[in-house]
Point group: D2
Chain length 356, copies 4
């Protein structure tokens, strides 16, 4: 375990620092013979891309992915898919004052403690730019799952204290994607956008929440005990930059509930009347939609002046520079979908292996 | 990946059904030469044991662990530690009506869907009885960590809507352990115990929350990207029966915070003034206490009559029988500590490997 | 990686020292619903058991396996199969003089260097007694493979310089098993037995070779690059005590061959006229019998006096005591089959996972 | 497990087909702060490179590696090292007739059986071109090991029936590298070169053997039972294209030896008088040189006409085209060193993790 690999039969390894030549990855275990839709794939990258709207960082990256292997005549070969995305807009000069200073609540200090060395430019390896590779891999997994009738929809359901409280159905996906915030309500989208603009004006940032609903997962996916399906989903989500919490189904609300209200009673077709379980019981899918939420903290980079320390533990003052996100949550939607897709496809194949 | 193993250098594999002959496990990778305190270890088992107080299940299990290998003259050998705990009080008859019925919000239905076959008695493999093995392994890991100055304290900080809002310090551990609920307040302990008794009287169950604080972890533990320290802690916690959510530091509260309030500013000794990060930044420990919370749903087994279905999807009625927990949270405290200890020791050794 | 686990979807973890209370293991990933033949399984253990004939060690062990989990009503549950075998005949006194001395070409010295501590009795963890657990697990795998038409036959084809040069077919299995040496020739069996008796009379030991032929493996099993099927088989065989070499198909003889003689030309049914490839090409099975050979060194424990050193590097003299094998190869036949079965079943399931 | 990854703490994943845009890999777990010698690294690539001498394939590849991450200011960052090597000389037209035909003793048939699809050009993923990535990664590992006093020397000790029977010492390395065959004898080098030229003239190929000696490995490296050091080395070697056998120390010769001759008696400094063990006992290094041999079959591509079948199992005739190696063994020397380096560094770090 060296940290940059994920999965068992489907395995993604990624590489790349924020301001190096390129980032990329290797995706192993994708079955052979699948036709990939590269336009669709690029769309997922565009959903994550900086500069896509007025409320995200204006760093300019075209984020065009190059595939180097594993695909032949447009179809997967079954062999590892190697890919890379070049880093184009590397204003490293913006980061020169960071060479010695530790930005508060970033990974500068911890990487320095762990490795002794670090690429200070834009966070280096700890930058969320790494998630480009996850989106590439996840988009491939999503396309394969779609052919098996499994659909993964993530959307923003909270920014600051503005919370969407509607009832989700997959028909809302188009609506949520039509807004720059990626929330399934035009009215709320407007308010959230306004909130993010205000926060940016203050040179500040704000947190948010993403909900993910996965439909079409057959019952029986998951492994007992340590590799429970929601445990692996939780790990996948908690591995995304800025994530501070994960809950499935009733989540933290279950604390105040009684068993008699919380139990999901069966209907005569093996489904359940309620879905407090969030589609998983005992770590294994039960055929209901898998439904979880992910908490994102406010981005640590703010455009306000902050006191901090440098590598000699001397006090230094930092003033925000560069181009950053006042709220990272809208751009994180395809990342949540990507990680969910990788987990579900991995468990799908594992379960498939036991078929007689 | 077959589900019942956990960890990289420290690896725990467990086996056992709730009503089989025995449960147990193999703990690999424990360094050689450590003297184990078996009384201390048994104390951890006793903290998890049924029948320990009036508010938990009255199933009678002495839960005495037998070590079969890996220990010689009281010291670890470096080789795998094999151990087992016999299942003594197996009133399988209590479960005869469950042979065909799926208990709501249990894993009966999903195990049936996954495997086609199952040991229906007491949940079989999906029973929380499996966690005995985790406590054995975790107790060993905890003892080794203690010798390295790392201390793991879990305690209950919420039952239903009763929440402890005090400020934790390790001096409170003795107090929390002196109460049957394992909360660090005598007054609140009384109220919580009363609530649990009431819920039991109704034949119902209630959820709760456990907080875990780990002190003494040096900065630098953790791996970048996918194997972030809190991601692995999250997976470990979400793998515990009845857990529906995990959050670290500010957790879900971070959603409504601004970056300017949330950022943990450094002090001149490399510590931080606040700890919204929960001791981990960029997936790597920063030397502050690691601080997370785990949400437990109300136990699914209730003593009320419930409508459900059987293997032929026909409606059947279930009336609660057997001996069950109205609230599993107090007994889960040593399980949370055990899983945390296994994760921390694993990452400690991984980090150690890079020392020059 | 802590050394005592093996496999990906099928995963075996073992524990136990030679003279501890018991040895055993956990076998994960065995599909649910298989009926096991416990008599057949015990037969495999008996083939490995000490005391089975006059030419093996006379240590008395009944080697009766106890299953603790994963089997219900005689069928596999899909959950981990926990099992143990008690160590009955532990004449630890035989080993008292070994407490400080390092036996030549044993693992005493290396375990001491690695761990600082060791259970010196009978080699502790390094003893071949550990292979009992492999035979238990492998026998289960073999039974499942048999139901899929895959048959694993190992036999002795060399002891010292006595070599069997016949042509193998599975009809010879009964013959080879009818001899105490497990060679498919009565005449050679007599000579080999005589050789072993002579060697024993001298207080010495002798090496040998086992050949393993696996029939019925469908084409397509194996993974490219690092996890080639024969690479994993090789690792599995080299992990068996006393093994010094592994070769597949033409093996070391291929060194002196030309491509024009070595190439296996196809027949019109997709089979090949020759099988120098040993059933595997590019790391993937081609549908021909998988065919490999394993070299075993002479057992290090001899009944002659040897000069050695103790933990203080002082010279000491060792005279052979205890009950040991003059030639371990006949007893290793079921171990080779067991490890082969675990590898093949693991790869079978992995390949199965990609089935549409 | 998807086949293209190797190692535990040090982990290499590779990608790339022979005639795709590029091949490359990700090397994880390399400790931070090491200065790399890129000229030295390129030298290892040049030792593997086609066209380096008259007796190897004349495919033109400059094999210049581009590093994309994990290195900053010439030093390792501790983060994944992403790298790629472009495929320059892709005469795919040479392979057009192979689109449907299965070349004998190549992986065409087995990849087709496994994946249904394949990139037929030059063997695609099964091509030995993939080993470029191994050499890049192994060269890095070798440089780090060198700084720890560990030296890895591989050399050719047999081509066809011409065998080197001298006694190895590291002083011979320069000599062996000065010959195009990489054998430590000028006289034998001449004969071997002549043999290879003759074989090429016939349009044929010939096998050979590589010996690898690793000096400076401290005692104590390796893991018990399944992950024995020589078992992992064996797997690493058997994963190299065209390898049919692996033996350590006495290897297959041990079969005819007696224990009294084979046992390595200790000297007063904890070394041994002989080294039949090949530097490893019980799977753990004993401080003596690690010494193993690897058998390579004759390359399957010959310049003679061969009868074979196509995807419809119809007979077709193949005449050798393209540029190929009459003997692959000289070019495989740096590959053997690379794989050995990756294994040793991985186990070195694992053992390091247990240091107090």
């Amino acid at each position: 375990m060296a940290g940059s690999g994920f999965g068992t039969l489907i395995r993604l390894s990624t590489f790349g620092e924020s301001h190096g030549k390129a980032i990329g990855g290797i995706l192993e275990g994708i079955p052979a013979g699948f036709t990939l839709d590269f336009d669709e794939l690029q769309k997922d990258l565009d959903r994550r891309r900086p500069g896509q709207s007025a409320i995200v960082t204006q760093r300019k990256e075209s984020d065009k992915v190059q595939f180097l292997s594993g695909i032949f005549d447009g179809k997967t070969l079954g062999t590892p898919i190697g890919f890379l995305v070049e880093n184009e807009d590397q204003r490293s000069a913006d980061y020169s004052e960071l060479e010695k200073a530790f930005r508060p609540s970033h990974a500068d200090f911890t990487y320095h403690q762990k490795y002794g060395a670090r690429d200070h430019r834009g966070g280096g390896r700890s930058s969320a730019r790494e998630t480009v590779s996850r989106v590439v891999a996840g988009a491939i997994a999503k396309q394969i799952l779609a052919q098996k009738g499994i659909r993964i929809d993530a959307f923003v359901d909270q920014i600051g204290s503005l919370q969407w409280t509607g009832e989700w159905n997959s028909g809302l996906k188009e609506l949520s994607e039509s807004t720059v915030v990626r929330v399934p309500s035009l009215e709320l989208a407007g308010k959230m956008e306004e909130l993010i603009r205000e926060v940016r004006k203050e040179g500040d940032t704000i947190g948010g929440r993403i909900r993910c609903v996965i439909e079409g997962v057959p019952a029986g996916l998951g492994e007992p005990v340590f590799d429970k399906l929601h445990a692996e989903l939780g790990k996948a989500m908690l591995s995304i930059n800025a994530v501070k919490g994960f809950e499935i189904g009733s989540g933290f609300d279950s604390i105040t509930m009684k068993g008699s209200e919380h139990n999901d009673l069966f209907t005569s077709d093996g489904k359940t009347k309620t879905n407090y379980s969030g589609g998983i019981q005992g770590g294994i899918s039960n055929g209901m939609p898998i439904d979880f939420r992910v908490a994102f903290k406010p981005v640590a980079t703010i455009m306000q002046s902050q006191e901090t320390i440098n590598e000699s533990f001397e006090p230094v003052s930092l003033s925000g520079k560069g181009r950053h996100d006042p709220c990272v949550v809208p751009r994180a939607v395809p990342i949540v979908e990507a990680m969910a897709a990788l987990v579900i496809l991995d468990y799908y194949l594992i379960q498939n292996s036991y078929r007689q």
